[in-house]
């Protein structure tokens, strides 16, 4: 169990991604899907990267997924785990896995989102074993 956290850089969101960060600050993981083609994409954009439609909408994800890949960053003041988590909604997002024994983590482990407040009023969507 790692009780300490690294310093997290503050996100610099593009204008069309701001609602994602408004969502995490409220404890919601928001994704974007296209109402024309139905596809969910990540990271969220104003224009659907499947069909180029502007008819994209935000919706709340379940916050559950599995680890697609990860790495324990050892050469750092505080070790941390970078990971790709594949969400139940079918998209994969970069994140950190926190509050667990790093040495027992494995690909395909079930994880759930936790919202981790950082500087600047931001809250990061991180994951922990489910």
């Amino acid at each position: 169990m790692s009780a300490s956290y690294p310093d997290y850089p503050i996100p610099a969101p593009a204008l069309d991604a701001q609602p994602f960060w408004d969502g995490t600050a409220l404890g919601k993981l928001l994704l974007k899907r296209c109402t024309d083609c139905g596809e969910t994409h990540y990271y969220p954009r104003a224009i659907c990267p499947y069909c180029f439609s502007s008819a994209t909408e935000w919706y709340e994800a379940t916050g559950r997924g599995t680890i697609y890949s990860f790495s324990v960053m050892r050469r750092a003041p505080v070790s941390y785990v970078i990971a790709y988590v594949r969400l139940e909604e079918g998209v994969t997002m970069m994140t950190n896995i926190i509050d667990c024994d790093f040495d027992t983590l494995a690909i395909d482990d079930a994880v759930k989102v936790v919202f981790h407040p950082i500087k600047g009023g931001f809250s990061l969507p991180l994951f922990t074993p489910a």
Binding site: P6, Y8, P9, I10, P11, A12, P13, A14, L15, D16, A17, W21, E39, T40, H41, Y42, Y43, R45, P49, Y50, Y68, S69, F70, S71, V72, M73, R74, R75, A76, Y80, I82, A83, Y84, R86, G90, V91, T92, M93, M94, T95, N96, I107, I118, F122, L124, L126
Partner: protein, 388 residues
């Protein structure tokens, strides 16, 4: 004579420095340009096309055109990170074939070691992806480590197999008096070196060095006048792979496409290639690239690189016979220019005698630019000896 080609590499030069304390970046660019032109037997005034990437100071090559006192009618500053110079090689061949220029100069130089800078560039909020990666403390090494971890999961690739890539590079670097790391290492040395980001150890990582390199490309007509040290550009391909809208797959790179395009253009097969130079930012980069280029099946890279198969004079596919980025140098944190240069040495028969591949007729040089687990531009060049 032999096969026809669009363009030749007439000159190549690698800067001998690995630590440029007293030289400016522009100066390093000019020094490698001078070296490559001298190697070609051409002068600065012959250059009518200039190619550079983001390591060149100023806007789109203009500052370097000015600094060097060039007068060009063609300029290309395409930046795809470390693969940019193999991209430029292809673009220059096309420009020469189209008559837009006839002597193309491509330069790379930098001093990240002297400046103590080997990090990701700073992005502002106009870059759409950065907010979804930077806050999670993505570094270059843990980005590559995630690809290595997934490869291990899917194909049971071991740390020892990855280590063989570094071992092979070190066997070559012992003969390169300019190489930063000239000591031969063993598989045990690699797997016992400190873990940086699982599963990558310190010796799975390339060096940080200053320096640079340049090549000069010319039309077939000019090549004929310069003699048999000119090397043929047989084929080139480039492709980009991304996080694909959230459908992330870390088991392959855009090398699958860039390699296929280059081989098709060259009219050659993998069996025709006598040696390869592959951008080796990390051992995993080489392993996945060898699979993607078709030298072995997907997932078999670990077996392919084992037991010295990449060591010149020992294995079937000699790679990075100058020691590569893992041992020799990594100027400006961009590895593909030096890959072109070592392939040229081999095709001229001018590599170190202890690593020279006998009767080297065709060589493949491959660059990867960007980051393997997010967005990466792969570029592949197939080069041939003057009489190929």
């Amino acid at each position: 004579m032999g096969r026809a080609c669009k363009a030749y590499i007439a000159g190549a030069f690698e800067h001998p420095t690995r630590h440029a304390v007293d030289q400016s970046v522009a100066q390093l660019h000019a020094e490698v340009a001078r070296g490559a032109l001298a190697d070609a037997g051409l002068s600065k005034d012959d250059v009518d096309g200039y190619f550079c990437a983001g390591d060149a100071p100023g806007l789109g090559g203009l500052s370097m055109v000015e600094y060097m006192g060039l007068d060009v009618r063609y300029v290309d500053s395409t930046d795809t990170g470390g693969s940019a110079y193999v991209v430029h090689l292809g673009h220059a061949a096309e420009a020469i074939a189209a008559g837009k220029c006839s002597v193309a100069l491509i330069t790379l130089a930098g001093r990240p070691r002297a400046a103590a800078k080997a990090t990701l560039p700073d992005y502002d909020n106009d870059t759409p992806d950065t907010a979804f990666e930077t806050p999670f403390n993505q570094m270059i090494v843990n980005n590559y480590a995630m690809a290595a971890m997934r490869h291990r999961h899917e194909f049971a690739t071991t740390a020892e197999q990855l280590a063989w890539i570094k071992v092979a590079a070190s066997h070559h670097a012992q003969h390169n008096r300019h190489a930063m790391l000239q000591k031969v290492v063993t598989v045990e040395d690699v797997v016992n070196s400190p873990m940086i980001s699982d599963p990558l150890h310190r010796l799975d990582c390339c060096v940080v060095s200053d320096g640079g390199g340049a090549i000069v490309m010319v039309s077939p007509e000019i090549a004929k006048s310069l003699g048999d040290r000119c090397v043929k550009v047989m084929g080139q391909g480039e492709a980009v792979k991304t996080t694909n809208r959230g459908q992330v797959d870390l088991t392959f790179t855009a090398g699958v496409k860039s390699g296929a395009i280059a081989f098709e253009e060259a009219g050659l097969t993998r069996a025709d290639i006598d040696m390869v130079t592959i951008y080796d930012s990390f051992t995993i980069t080489v392993l996945i690239t060898l699979e993607d280029l078709g030298f072995c099946e997907k997932g078999q890279g670990g077996r392919f690189v084992s037991d010295g198969n990449l060591i010149s004079g020992v294995g079937k596919l000699p790679f990075n016979t100058d020691g590569g980025g893992l041992c020799n140098n990594h100027p400006s944190n961009r590895g593909s220019m030096t890959k072109i240069i070592e392939a040229v040495r081999q095709l001229r028969g001018e590599a170190h005698p202890r690593v020279q591949v006998p009767d080297c007729t065709f060589a493949l040089a491959h660059g990867s630019g960007g980051l393997i687990s997010t967005r990466l531009c792969s570029a592949t060049a197939i080069l041939g000896r003057n009489d190929a």
